[in-house]
């Protein structure tokens, strides 16, 4: 019990930032609760409530990472009742995170409907309804939280693009499946509880049994196939191998699958489809974010100057990206003709894909001193711009002039980023490439 309590506490207070988020989130939720009981519902109040819920969730965003770390290591095997306690702590965290939503909803509903809490006491049917609503929202939030934590796990625990792409895949599933149901209001407490029970039984069962399974699997051998976990070899130039750009097919596969899922689950709107494609094209560039660290080995072994090194690295990434870009463009055209996209969409969409790849590649190459504020802000602005275009195109009569203007500006930005990246590479200092190294150098 002590362990479970301690674990849950640690999930919400792992770093000073998450602690602030957790506490702040609770405060905001409490504040909105107070307000909802005394004032009529307003959009501002709901916004505060949403902000509080989001903050509270983000405060525990490291939970999947921490559980993953503890579970994968020897700790889970050796700590008394280790896995069981970890599993229970996960379930408890999900319930805790969903609790404010479940509590707030009845009050929000009442505030929205009649504005008076005393009305409830006079109307038992209303009371029952709001309580039931609270339960529905609570259980739905539990389901949603579970999926979000899963996405968080992939996003926070993997350090390469394949993992990041996996995270995005889960995000797609989340956006499509559970929210659809909540919007349809087809959820009931009992159906939710059933879903929760099944999901947690399966997950919990697998989680507890996993070590034995892994041990048994390690002894399997399917004749002819490579060993479980053995990575396939790819041939490639030395530059490509060191930079990690030797095998683009993995990344292509990681991106194509979510696109297919999104298409065939009925997201027929061309713009949403394009929205996903734009995000995926940015992922291609994320690979380049590791180029700076890895290039040290290249520089030591070749006779290149830093400027020459940059040119070689740039070439390698274009070799890699051209595959992915080609596949994405083909997909766009193919799905476009299959789904009957308007030509304006294709005309605006194809350059957008190219721009997304170019911008993110050069932004990644700019990361020579760890991910700082400049790069983060640039990255966010680029993503927003990339997403803005499909949204603009979704309108009945899209403003093509504006779209063209945005794309032109993005083109200019990509040229600027290239120059910036090249300049940084001529002064690259490998001891500063990774933030963790900088911190430990300071403490040494």
């Amino acid at each position: 019990m002590r362990a479970i309590a301690r674990l849950v506490y640690s999930y919400f207070t792992s770093t000073p930032l998450t602690r602030a988020l957790s506490v702040g989130g609770l405060v905001l939720c409490a504040a909105s609760l107070l307000v909802l009981t005394s004032l009529p519902q307003s959009e501002h109040m709901l916004a505060v409530a949403y902000a509080g819920l989001l903050a509270f969730f983000l405060g525990s965003a490291f939970m999947p990472l921490m559980v993953g770390k503890l579970s994968r290591g020897h700790a889970a095997r050796l700590l008394p009742h280790g896995r069981v306690k970890l599993l229970v702590s996960m379930m408890l965290t999900v319930a805790l995170v969903a609790l404010p939503a479940g509590l707030l909803t009845p009050f929000a509903y009442v505030a929205g409907v009649s504005g008076k809490w005393s009305d409830l006491q006079r109307n038992p049917q209303l009371l029952d309804f709001t309580i039931n609503l609270g339960w529905v929202i609570f259980t739905s939030s539990c389901i949603l939280a579970g999926w979000l934590y899963l996405a968080m796990y992939f996003i926070t625990s993997q350090r390469n693009v394949a993992g990041f792409a996996k995270g995005l895949l889960v995000v797609v599933i989340i956006i499509v499946v559970p929210t659809r149901e909540v919007n349809d209001l087809s959820a009931t407490t009992s159906s939710n509880l059933l879903k929760l029970a099944v999901a947690w039984l399966v997950f919990g069962g697998l989680y507890l049994v996993w070590p034995r399974l892994k041990g048994a699997m390690a002894n399997w051998r399917i004749p002819g196939l490579p060993f479980f976990g053995a990575s396939s070899r790819t041939s490639g130039r030395e530059v490509d191998l060191i930079l990690g750009t030797a095998n683009p097919w993995v990344y292509i596969a990681a991106q194509v699958v979510p696109v297919f899922i999104a298409t065939f689950t009925g997201l027929a709107s061309a713009a949403i489809w394009l929205y996903f494609l734009a995000i995926m094209s940015a992922v291609t560039g994320a690979v380049s974010g590791q180029a700076a660290e890895r290039s040290r080995a290249l520089w030591l072994r070749s006779g290149w100057s830093r400027a020459e090194l940059f040119a070689q690295v740039e070439k390698s990434f274009w070799r890699h990206n051209s595959f992915m870009l080609g596949v994405l463009l083909l997909l766009m055209v193919g799905m476009g003709s299959y789904s009957g996209f308007p030509t304006s969409l294709l005309a605006a969409g194809l350059p957008l894909l190219i721009l997304g790849t170019v911008l993110s590649t050069y932004l990644g190459l700019m990361i020579t001193r760890g991910l700082g504020w400049t790069e983060s802000l640039l990255g966010i602005s680029i993503m927003l711009a990339l997403m803005a275009v499909p949204l603009l195109l979704q309108a009945q009569n899209p403003n093509l002039v504006l779209v063209a203007a945005i794309e032109f500006k993005l083109l200019l930005l990509s040229l600027v980023l290239r120059i910036w990246a090249r300049r940084r590479w001529t002064h690259i200092d490998w001891t500063q490439c990774r933030p963790s190294r900088v911190a430990s150098a300071r403490n040494a």
Binding site: R2, A3, M66, R72, L78, P80, H81, R212, S440
Partner: protein, 292 residues
């Protein structure tokens, strides 16, 4: 003899076609300090993992405190401490938080003891684990295994990244821990001098088997280098039992043997009429000779 802390019988582990460990049988008595030596890839880590049930054996059995390793009860888990080769710390937490999380799983955790060691070893409880140096991370990993005062301590290269002073402090702690005569320690290390100080028994892993398992003292008395002087032909023709290697230069020869007894010296002198001097070897040399 009281019940052994660890017992293995014909233990084996294979990964696919690769036989990493083959037919190992051993016992760890309470109070033993066992040093495990072996070349890189000899299977030291695998052996330690098999012992604690992290991976199932492909042959034979191994048990801890009388219970099969794969089915350790929670009570027995609380009597075991493990320091892995790669640390498994949670970077986001502070040192104090990490300690508290692990401590919460154990019914008996000696907080004062750990606080004192943090002070002596220079580990700052308020520091973020992400910002710790490699040595500090290793110290923390060791502390995490000490806190619940385990009766069986298993360490996989625990001091590879520590400076000599930190290593000495760690050794002193192990000495303290083994004072009661009840705790057993099994540790694998490349730093032979540490093992030489602390271990009373040595296991040498070679070619998937235990090339030696026995007292360190006996090992030093059995594996010796003989300096033999005599006629060149006599030396050349001499057959010595348990010989590991020989080097001859004219009428002077050195031979390393693995099963020396004092009687052997007199025997060689008598039988071949040669001069025999005995040189005892340190553990590192013994290890090198056994791998020649």
């Amino acid at each position: 003899m009281s019940d052994p802390a660890v017992q293995a019988s014909h233990l084996g582990k294979a990964f696919g076609t690769r036989q990493v460990l083959d037919d190992l049988s051993f016992e760890v008595a309470p109070g033993d300090v066992i040093g495990v030596l072996g070349k890189n890839g000899a299977g030291k880590t695998t052996l330690l993992e098999l012992m604690l049930g992290f991976t199932p054996p492909t042959a034979g059995t191994v048990s801890v405190f009388g219970q099969a390793s794969q089915q350790l009860s929670a009570g027995n888990k609380a009597r075991v401490g493990f320091v892995p080769q790669q640390d498994e710390l949670i970077d986001q937490l502070s040192v104090a938080d990490q300690l508290k999380v692990i401590a919460s799983f154990y019914p008996h955790w000696d907080g004062e003891f750990i606080d004192r060691l943090c002070g002596e070893w220079g580990v700052n409880p308020a520091a973020r684990i992400k910002s710790l140096s490699v040595g500090e991370r290793q110290k923390l990993s060791i502390l995490l295994a000490f806190g619940h005062r385990p009766e069986l301590l298993v360490l996989d290269e625990p001091v590879a990244s520590l400076d000599p002073m930190a290593r000495r402090q760690f050794l002193e702690q192990l000495v303290e821990a083994s004072m009661d005569g009840n705790s057993s320690v099994i540790f694998s290390s490349h730093i032979v001098s540490d093992i030489e100080r602390l271990a009373n028994r040595i296991w040498i892993l070679k070619d998937a088997r235990l090339a030696w398992q026995g007292d360190l003292d006996s090992l030093k008395e059995c594996v010796v280098r003989l300096h033999i002087r005599g006629g060149a032909e006599t030396l050349e023709a001499m057959a010595i039992s348990g010989e590991l290697s020989r080097r001859r230069d004219g009428d002077f020869m050195t031979v390393v043997v693995r099963d020396f007894t004092p009687a052997m010296q007199a025997d060689l002198r008598g039988r071949h009429g040669v001069d025999v001097e005995v040189e005892s070897l340190g553990l590192e040399e013994i290890f090198l000779e056994l791998h020649r």
